[in-house]
């Protein structure tokens, strides 16, 4: 069973639908025992870093998430909250990944980055079976800087972390649940991690 963490940030439902399409059962929950006992945990999110962190702390989900031992996949805001700090709302985050989340800034290119961009330099089992430069759907104004934990890179204004991994914690900035066949492959790869 896959547990999808329920909190005040949005779009958890679309992750559940995506898992359904690849034949994987999941539950959207904020129950500590259900999350602790799940085979896999997905920490999704569309939202604002500060309000999301405040909610997690108020409900003690912050300490739960960092204590998890099974494979955990952060998506979009989930990835950003797993970093140590976000400029969005000057927010101290979960400090799983040793990198900071910064606001895109460009005199020319648009912010947020919205649309399909390619990922490259894969260093994780999540990307098994994908062509180099696979297209993924991404929508964000903030990005995690490159670090030694970066497992895929995307270029927009500058190269940044499309994916991060540390021990059992995996995270992607883009939306695999909305990235067509490529995204389905990534979700399947995550589900197959032992």
């Amino acid at each position: 069973m896959v547990a999808i963490i329920k909190y005040n940030a949005g779009n958890v439902q679309s992750v559940q639908y995506a898992l359904q399409r690849i034949g994987v059962d999941s539950v959207v929950t904020d129950d500590f025992e259900v999350i602790r006992n799940a085979d896999k945990v997905i920490f999704p999110g569309v939202g604002h870093a500060q309000s999301a962190m405040q909610y997690l702390m108020k409900n003690k989900l912050d300490t739960l998430i960092i204590s998890l031992q099974q494979p955990v996949l952060g998506i979009c805001l989930g990835l950003q909250l797993m970093c140590k700090y976000s400029e969005e709302g000057d927010t101290t985050c979960l400090n799983i990944f040793d990198t900071e989340v910064k606001l895109f800034s460009s005199p020319v290119l648009k912010v947020p980055q919205i649309g399909w961009n390619n990922i490259y330099n894969y260093k994780s089992v999540l990307f098994n079976g994908l062509p180099e430069q696979a297209f993924v759907y991404t929508v964000h104004s903030y990005y995690a800087a490159l670090s030694k934990e970066t497992t895929a890179t995307t270029d927009y204004i500058l190269p940044f972390s499309a994916a991060l991994q540390k021990n059992n914690f995996y995270a992607v900035q883009f939306h695999p649940e909305k990235s067509g066949f490529v995204g389905e492959t990534i979700l399947k790869n995550f589900i197959q991690i032992i």
Binding site: G47, G115, K178
Partner: protein, 252 residues
């Protein structure tokens, strides 16, 4: 490289897809969920659903339809029509919508944009503007599905909305919509150059060349069309191959 997006728009009324010609003479163009699946398989980059009767009839966007669409397609979609509160948006996002578009309610209550942006992030807040070029040569904002003129210039409202937290602008030219004579290049270019957020051009697509023009000359980040896709006058795979051949960044 970030690619230009091709976005079929499904105008919804009473659970069916419709497309108005200059916002009138509405014709039926099929089941929204069926069309959504078809377009996702054809290579559409994103979908937009606008409940065009919602504002006028004070009807809330159909959550059940959103659920059915979200369950069946693996590309992102935006839902708009009749959204006037943060709670409206929470329900849509919880049921699988990726973004919402706001129009009339945001114009009447600009604080709605800030409220949505603070709660959900600006990246899921699309400001839809219906605009019309008047005889004085200026583009003005229209409300209520194009029925109500305002004295506000489109560029001024767009700038204010972005400052409040709108993450994207969906710009529909009423002069061009339904004409199949091409997108409104001038106002799209103005907004794209003046704003820091992506601009989706809408209204007027008739040929594949029109898409090339709006990306190259209008600097649009995405182009939206309805009837030419619904009535199969242009097929998305052919359109995207054409644009790629014309050296426009596109996802094939």
């Amino acid at each position: 490289m970030l690619t230009k997006r091709i976005i079929p728009c499904l105008d919804i009324r009473d659970g069916r897809t419709v497309k108005g010609i200059n916002f009138e003479n509405i014709r039926d163009a099929g089941d929204p969920a069926e069309l959504a699946l078809f377009y996702s398989q054809q290579g559409a980059d994103e979908l937009v659903f606008l409940d065009i009767t919602a504002t006028v009839e004070k009807r809330k966007t159909l959550v059940e339809l959103v659920k059915r669409i979200a369950a069946n397609i693996n590309i992102p979609f935006t839902v708009g029509g009749g959204i006037s509160t943060v709670e409206d948006v929470a329900v849509l996002l919880q049921n699988g919508a990726d973004k919402v578009s706001v129009n009339t309610a945001a114009f009447k209550n600009p604080a709605l944009i800030a409220g949505l942006s603070n709660r959900f992030g600006s990246q899921c807040v699309v400001l839809a503007i219906d605009t019309k070029k008047e005889t004085d040569g200026e583009w003005y904002v229209y409300l209520n599905g194009g029925r109500t003129k305002t004295d506000t210039k489109t560029i001024d409202w767009a700038k204010q909305a972005v400052a409040l937290g709108a993450g994207e602008i969906l710009l529909t030219s009423m002069n061009n919509d339904g004409t199949k004579a091409g997108f409104a290049v001038d106002i799209t270019l103005l907004l794209s150059n003046e704003l820091s957020v992506p601009v989706i051009a809408s209204g007027g697509a008739g040929t594949m060349v029109h898409f090339k023009e709006i990306f190259e000359e209008g600097n649009a980040d995405a182009a939206l069309a309805a009837s030419i896709f619904h009535y199969k006058e242009i097929a998305i795979p052919e359109l995207k191959q054409y644009l790629a051949n014309e050296k426009i960044a596109i996802r094939l």
